[in-house]
């Protein structure tokens, strides 16, 4: 929190100087007093350093996706995969299935789900002013699990194909939970404490209901619920990727429109109010966005925890509190963690998929700790 915030800069009047000393500052993580004393120079370095690191993260994500698409039990060469993507007609049927129905959906699903959870977690932590907040804090994921469990146990069909019934029920559950929180918050004030307490009450109530259903369920249904709750990217398909992408591409610009307000909110609610931010309204708006993102992600993959909690922290350690960078950083970090996790889940035991929910933590924790320790060293 030692960085000058953009707001301070804006308050300091116009930028006058123009400093070309970019390369040095990019390498040099600490602003040295010798280089450029002007506030504008410092600010430019502040921006450039963040853009540079965002680019590094984006490149790392891109690389992980490429490796994910290139590797698998089929031992296709890089040439075969690239050639196949460019000219699908040249492939034999089995290879075509492997590239277009298995590897690409799997790799891209990891990216869009990770990004959605990263974005949801980042916004959640800010509006609830709580570093432990994540998409599962307010019971949204639990509600999705309840929806899915009900669909499984009561064999609901709604006349739809089975692969969509459970996601739709899960989504409906999550949205209902969000509606309940919105309703209670509007009626009783949307202060952080109220919302978090409602959320906690909801988490426990939903958890108890899920347990009750599991207790009453036949072991067949129980197995299905357990399968579903162990999140898996193997349920990827092009339609699902498209749906999650649409939601993500809708929510991302909306989130970016709020970055200044959200950054102000990090200074405390009174601080934000002094800038004219309608804090309660902002909070409820953001919660709607977060819920939809979470609901869509969970509906298609089952419960994948951890990404939405640690992605934002990684972003915060790397970019600080300026939401212009913190938000895209969280999106990239979430996508990167899940992309790496899906890569590892394929390779721990070649040919066997280890559930992604297990692997995410194994991937994210070292990354998170490394950043945390390096920050601590820097003081």
């Amino acid at each position: 929190m030692n960085h000058p915030t953009p707001k301070d800069v804006a308050a300091n009047g116009n930028v006058q100087h123009d400093d070309m000393n970019i390369s040095q500052t990019a390498i040099d993580a600490v602003t040295t007093p010798q280089s450029d004393h002007s506030l504008a120079g410092q600010y430019r370095r502040f921006i450039l350093r963040r853009i540079l690191w965002l680019s590094v993260l984006a490149i790392a994500l891109f690389a992980s996706v490429i490796v994910n698409i290139m590797t698998g039990p089929a031992l296709l060469t890089v040439g075969q995969v690239i050639g196949g993507i460019i000219d699908p007609a040249s492939l034999d049927a089995a290879t075509h299935v492997i590239i277009f129905d298995v590897r690409l959906p799997f790799a891209l699903m990891a990216v869009v789900i990770g990004a959605a959870l990263g974005l949801a977690g980042a916004e959640m932590q800010t509006v609830l002013n709580n570093p432990l907040a994540s998409p599962s804090t307010l019971g949204i994921m639990h509600a999705a699990t309840l929806g899915a469990s009900l669909a499984i146990v009561f064999n609901l069909t709604f006349g739809l194909p089975e692969s969509f019934v459970i996601p739709i029920s899960a989504f409906a559950g999550a949205i209902l939970a969000m509606a309940a929180i919105q309703f209670l918050s509007r009626a009783y004030g949307a202060s952080v404490d109220t919302i978090v307490l409602f959320g906690i009450a909801l988490v426990f109530a939903l958890d108890a209901l899920v347990s009750l259903i599991q207790f009453a369920a036949s072991s067949d249904s129980l197995q299905q619920i357990v399968f579903w709750t162990m999140g898996s990217l193997a349920r990827a398909s092009w339609e699902k990727i498209a749906i999650v992408s649409v939601v993500l591409c809708t929510c991302m610009p909306l989130a970016m429109r709020h970055v200044w307000k959200m950054t102000a909110l990090r200074g405390g609610e009174d601080y934000a109010r002094s800038f004219g931010v309608a804090v309660e309204r902002l909070r409820l708006l953001v919660l709607i966005r977060v819920s939809i993102l979470t609901a869509v992600a969970v509906a298609f993959t089952g419960v994948i925890g951890f990404v939405g909690l640690v992605g934002p922290h990684i972003s915060r350690l790397a970019f600080g509190e300026d939401h212009r960078f913190y938000i895209p950083g969280s999106v990239l970090a979430g996508a990167f963690i899940l992309s790496m996790a899906s890569l590892v889940s394929k390779h721990i035991v070649p040919g066997i998929l280890i559930p992604d929910g297990i692997v995410t933590a194994l991937i994210g924790i070292p990354l998170f700790l490394a950043l945390l320790l390096s920050q601590k060293r820097r003081g």
Binding site: G72, P73, A74, L75, A93, A94, V97, I98, D101, V102, R103, N155, T157, E162, S163, I166, F215, A216, S218, S219, D220, L222, Q223, Q224, F227, W228, S232, A234, R235, K346, V349, P350, G351, I352, L353, P355
Partner: protein, 389 residues
């Protein structure tokens, strides 16, 4: 210490039974004698036989009770777990039709180990509790707390097993049930049929070293993603007995693991066997294969054909070569498994077993060793109606 407590418990049972006789609801049958038998878990259990009432740690043991008393297995049961009706509703309905009293059997739990109601079990005053070795769908005979509590209530616990190591334990278990029920002759008669049925497969396989690669997909349609593969336990074990090689047997450490369709396309197993958890009398079996009691050959074949529509299935050589079969999932937990092993052997080695008729084995099993008639299909291929009844 454990041994001491156990022996004390046994002494308690012996003295109690010697002092008070068995505390059955009705007066005990005359000519009871006290025997000490070794159950499949290796415990020596002292029981007054023949027993009159027992409780079952798995409702699905009921058909195995029927092996020893094809006239009426239901009359032996004072209480059982509720998973028979839930997991295999079609077979349960067969029993319901013939023995309406099955609905009067007290439930001592639903379908999971944690739902076992110890108090209810004790209150039924059974002469013996018959539990599986492993828990899962019911109380485990290895659960010390349950064991000791029942022992204190003078209810001996006998462990049987058709699931963990069926080849060794299924014959033992049938013998134990025969002793408990005073039906030793029927037990021996069945074991002759059982051993002979497996020996036929075993002896002929000794003449060939050919072991085609087999992929066994467990519980088709349960998970949305492909594919839950069987490891070397449960039904995965049948593959070896039937002269095949489980292609994922070496890499799945436990009972099952998830295999990607990519791995399947690379491995290209010679045979694809799906285990069926759909039932004929259950609406909306979704992507499940329908086999078991009351299933028709047509429904079975259609439901198996239906699963070939999944991503990547059409590119599997096993499916292109019509080497796609399905087998009833509950075979893993019953001495009926002899018929399943024979049928699988016939699939993997059609020439070697050209004259073997697993359908006849199944028919004999139901005619001589079951309380209900054979009415359904227990394995299928994709060609409707070709599976002879």
């Amino acid at each position: 210490m454990k041994k001491l407590i156990k022996s004390l418990a046994h002494i308690a049972i012996i003295t109690a039974t010697a002092t008070f006789g068995t505390q059955t609801v009705l007066a005990a049958e005359p000519a009871q004698k006290q025997v000490t038998l070794t159950d499949v878990a290796g415990h020596d259990v002292t029981v007054n036989v023949p027993v009159k009432y027992m409780i079952l740690g798995e409702g699905r043991f009921l058909p195995s009770i029927g092996i020893l008393d094809p006239e009426n297995p239901v009359r032996w049961i004072a209480g059982m777990m509720g998973e028979f009706k839930r997991l295999d509703p079609a077979s349960y309905a067969q029993y319901q039709a013939k023995f309406p009293a099955i609905d009067d059997i007290a439930l001592i739990g639903s379908s999971g180990e944690e739902s076992f109601n110890l108090e209810k079990a004790i209150s039924l005053h059974p002469d013996v509790a018959v539990f599986g070795i492993t828990g899962g769908h019911g109380p485990s005979a290895e659960n010390k707390q349950i064991f000791d509590t029942l022992a204190a209530a003078n209810i001996p616990v006998v462990a049987i097993d058709f699931r963990q190591d069926p080849l060794v334990n299924a014959p033992k278990s049938v013998r134990i049930l025969g002793t408990l029920m005073g039906k030793e002759d029927q037990a021996e008669k069945f074991l002759e049929f059982y051993d002979q049925g497996l020996a036929t497969v075993h002896d002929r396989l000794a003449t060939t070293t050919e072991r085609p690669g087999v992929f066994m997909e467990s519980r088709v349609g349960l998970a949305q993603e492909c594919c839950e593969a069987m490891g070397q336990q449960m039904m995965g074990r049948f593959i070896d007995w039937a002269g095949g090689k489980n292609v994922f047997g070496d890499i799945i450490p436990g009972t099952h693991g998830t295999v990607t369709i990519e791995q399947l396309l690379v491995t290209q197993p010679d045979y694809y066997i799906a285990t069926a958890i759909g039932a004929a009398n259950v609406k909306d079996n979704g992507n499940r294969v329908i086999l078991g009691a009351m299933a028709t050959p047509d429904d079975a074949a259609k439901s198996l054909q239906h699963i070939t529509g999944r991503t990547g299935m059409a590119q599997l050589s096993a499916i292109q070569n019509d080497h796609l079969f399905s087998i009833w999932h509950h075979f893993y937990n019953t001495p009926m498994n002899v018929a399943a092993v024979q049928q699988m052997a016939k699939w993997f080695h059609p020439d070697l077993f050209a004259d073997l008729d697993p359908n006849q084995t199944l028919q004999t099993y139901f005619d001589q060793f079951q309380a209900v008639d054979l009415n359904g299909v227990y394995w299928t291929d994709t060609k409707a109606g070709t599976t002879p009844q």
